[in-house]
Symmetry: C2
Subunit: 206 residues, 2 copies
DNA sequence: CCACGTGCTAGACAATGTCAAGATAGAATC
DNA sequence: GATTCTATCTTGACATTGTCTAGCACGTGG
């Protein structure tokens, strides 16, 4: 309310949010590789070097955007896990994996910046923490499976990486729309169901 | 021999290759996001706009580099598949998946440009063909599994996407060095063995 | 009413992608 | 062997970008 005077307001009011919103638009329109500080500034209606005051540099702005993405992802993974409380640990794990892929598909700009914009996550402390926090939901579901299923012969770390690989891989393929040739006739949802359904084969061991 | 006179040779002799080699160096040193036409030209010892003559534009150069990557990948996948001829179809599939991940780990610059540089693969006809060609090896191994194992209740397309997701996901995580927190004590090879070993659970169905 | 700091602007610089125009050398043609 | 021809590369220019330095605007506290 305060900051919507016209155009030449000196103090924007909420520039960081406006800039991150602009980043989202740009990624959607032109891809993560074509985000620029100046374009974001233009869309927010501020001068070309205003962004530098809130984010250290270009990578800083992308990191802030990615941070927000990890927060959302964490929320969606947690929701999925909880809403599958009734089922088995495997069901819950599949639900988390499904939510992961859906996040990538429905919030592609976030996914792109988070994983394929070339930003070095570990070097951004805050971002790194948020990423771990989102991942912790998956790890928790894996922990459930291990303890509940009594998989004594399987290394829990392998199970964790297995599910994350599956989810992340399917998400990447889906976002790239690079399904194997002749296989793009099925919808993403079909593949999600198929791929995570295949993980149900875990029941075979014990 | 002919083109290694000194520096000021007008006709380089093999500029395209020299440029692509330079791209490989740059990606390794500064990441795929920081490749530039001019830097590549500098390393090849030619003028700043020489690359444009061989590759339409920056994306064209990256596409050519990615093309080369898909050729190598195809070769390594095919070799893996053949060298596991003795084993079961599932063994062969795991061997192909393993080779995929190893390619990503050992030839990271290629993998980065192929999958995370933001180039739009489908829009580059030649590149698209090479990508499909590499993928065909995986698809072939999946076909073997289906026909040999008699999996009547499973959609072959799901199996294909399942294995590709697994391989591509693990490859991405490995390249990003973003194993779940506390899980980076195992080597990539451990995880490759663990993850594809877990696929052996397929034997449970049939 | 005046310092004062936060939030932004203004101007400059080197680097980049891309385009237009020209130079150079080796092959083709006669 | 001289003359076109063509692929290959150079030079110069321009708009755009990231980043740096300096300065301006405005609300707050004295």
């Amino acid at each position: 309310m305060t900051a919507s005077r016209d155009s030449a307001v000196y103090h924007h009011g909420d520039l960081p949010n406006a800039l991150l919103a602009a980043v989202g638009e740009i990624v959607e329109e032109k891809g993560a590789a074509n985000v620029s500080l100046r374009e974001a500034a233009r869309r927010a209606g501020v001068s070309h070097s205003a962004p530098a005051h809130h984010f250290k540099d270009k990578e800083g702005m992308l990191a802030a955007f990615a941070e927000r993405g990890f927060e959302i992802l964490r929320g969606e993974l947690a929701t999925a896990r909880e809403s599958a409380t009734g089922g088995s640990a495997l069901d819950r794990l599949a639900a988390v994996g499904t939510a992961y892929v859906r996040f990538a598909v429905h919030r592609t700009p976030y996914f792109d910046v988070m994983f394929r914009s070339g930003i070095d996550t570990p070097s951004h402390e805050h971002l790194h923490a948020r990423a771990d926090s989102a991942l912790a939901v998956l790890m928790g579901a894996v922990g459930d499976l291990i303890s509940e299923g009594g998989y004594t012969e399987v290394d829990p770390r392998h199970v964790a990486v297995y599910f994350w690989s599956l989810a992340h891989g399917l998400a990447s393929l889906a976002v790239d729309r690079s399904m194997p040739p002749g296989l793009d006739e099925l919808t993403i949802e079909d593949y999600i169901a198929g791929v995570f359904g295949m993980s149900q084969l875990f029941n075979g061991t014990g």
